[in-house]
Amino acid sequence: MEKALIALAAALAVAIPAMATAYAQARIGSVGAGTIAEKPETSGIIIILEALPETMVILGFVVAVMLILQFA
């Protein structure tokens, strides 16, 4: 039972940031596409901005790994 709860916590630690990242990237992506269409010289900055929300999932993944390693 305890292992199942740990697994669930680890899954949520990845899933919730992943959904938030998807939401943020959808918004940033559409605005970025519009910006690049008008000003192609901004493409470097837009790629960086698009990648920033990924950090949320990476942090979630690290938390999930820590949960599994420490308690499982």
Binding site: R27, S30, A33, E38
Partner: protein, 350 residues
């Protein structure tokens, strides 16, 4: 939350607004107008060749044997229509519907031209310069212009089978019945507003609420124009009461009928800025003041919400105001007016 957001096309608002915001830099600045107002028509011609109006202007130089003034007018109208149509083409879903509602002011303008044409009843070969960014195609209006009688025009409108065309048919029916010109135009405006509100009812969002406010302010402008005719003694109060439209933003028909003075009517409303108090006497409504204030309100929405319809409203208003400003500038310069006198007539935003 995600499903609700998808229905409202927020991603398209993001894309569209990013593109529009990048294009705000293309509009002429206050300094450009100031410089051009003191130059000659040829200087304006050279200046326009280097702007986004240059492409249309070059085309008109090759194709048409018209005066410089007329060629500039054509270039302004063509470029503005293409910019505004492109704005709608970039949108999809809710933004597209809302922009179509805003741009249907072109159908209203074209419809008014036709109502006035049939009201006067004198056949005239030369077609006016149609506003080519509305929902109804320009060829529809061009065909109507060629109609031998109002009855033919009404038949063509009904055959076209579009709600806006039916609204125009109802306005032309008023002309046939012998109603006054304002009454016919009122029928056109109210018919078109009903169609537009039906479009807005399919999107119950904060953005559609703002476009509803836009329509309500349009009603206010109409009502203010009728009221100012009463105030200046051109129209009787009883006649005006029949012409007022309900559903205005801040001016109800009751308030309009019960206010004999501009100050009493407009104080504490969004329109109070149009009161001309400069002469020290009783406040008066500046000529064209309501429309100018309406433009200013639209342009002021630019930074209200970067992911809402506000950006598109401000962009469209900016484009139409620039068209109007350059038109006034060209007329003023070709008539030899002083630079300051021309600048007074312009709406300088920002």
């Amino acid at each position: 939350m995600f499903l609700k957001s998808s229905k409202g096309f927020p991603e398209n608002f993001g894309y569209l607004n990013a593109r529009l915001r990048a294009r705000f830099g293309d509009f002429l600045a206050r300094e450009d107008y100031r410089r051009l107002a003191s130059r000659s028509l040829e200087d304006i011609e050279v200046f326009l060749l280097d702007t986004r109006y240059g492409k249309s202007f070059r085309r008109s130089l090759i194709e048409q044997s018209l005066s410089t003034h007329r060629k500039i007018e054509m270039a302004l109208a063509d470029t503005s229509a293409s910019v505004l149509s492109h704005t709608r083409n970039m949108a999809m879903g809710e933004p597209e519907d809302l922009i179509s509602v805003i741009l249907s002011r072109a159908d209203l303008q074209n419809g008014r031209l036709l109502v006035r044409y049939f009201f006067i009843g004198i056949p005239y070969e030369m077609q006016p310069r149609w506003h080519a960014y509305g929902t109804l195609p320009v060829r529809f209006f061009a065909q109507l212009w060629k109609s031998p009688s109002v009855a033919h025009g009404i038949d063509k409108c009904l055959a076209f089978d579009h709600p806006l065309a039916r609204a125009l048919a109802r306005a032309l029916e008023q002309v046939v019945k012998g109603s006054s010109l304002p009454a016919s135009e009122r029928a056109l405006l109210s018919g078109m507003l009903v169609c537009q509100e039906r479009v807005l009812d399919s999107h119950r969002t904060k953005n559609s609420a703002l476009v509803k406010e836009y329509l309500a302010r349009t009603i206010d402008v109409w009502n203010l124009n009728i009221w100012s005719r009463v105030f200046s003694g051109v129209m009787q109060k009883e006649k005006a009461a029949e012409l007022y439209l309900k559903g205005g933003f801040s001016l109800s028909p009751e308030r309009l009928q019960g206010s004999p003075e501009p100050a009493g009517l407009l104080d504490s409303t969004p329109w109070e800025n149009i009161l001309d108090r400069s002469k020290g006497g009783p406040a008066e409504i500046a000529p064209g003041g309501a429309m100018r204030e309406f433009w200013r309100w639209q342009i002021s929405l630019r930074r209200k919400d970067p992911l809402g319809i506000e950006v598109a409203i401000a962009f469209i208003a900016h484009q139409l105001v620039e068209w109007r400003n350059l038109d006034s500038l060209v007329v003023g310069v070709s008539m030899g007016f002083e630079g300051d006198a021309i600048l007074e007539k312009l709406i300088l935003a920002g």
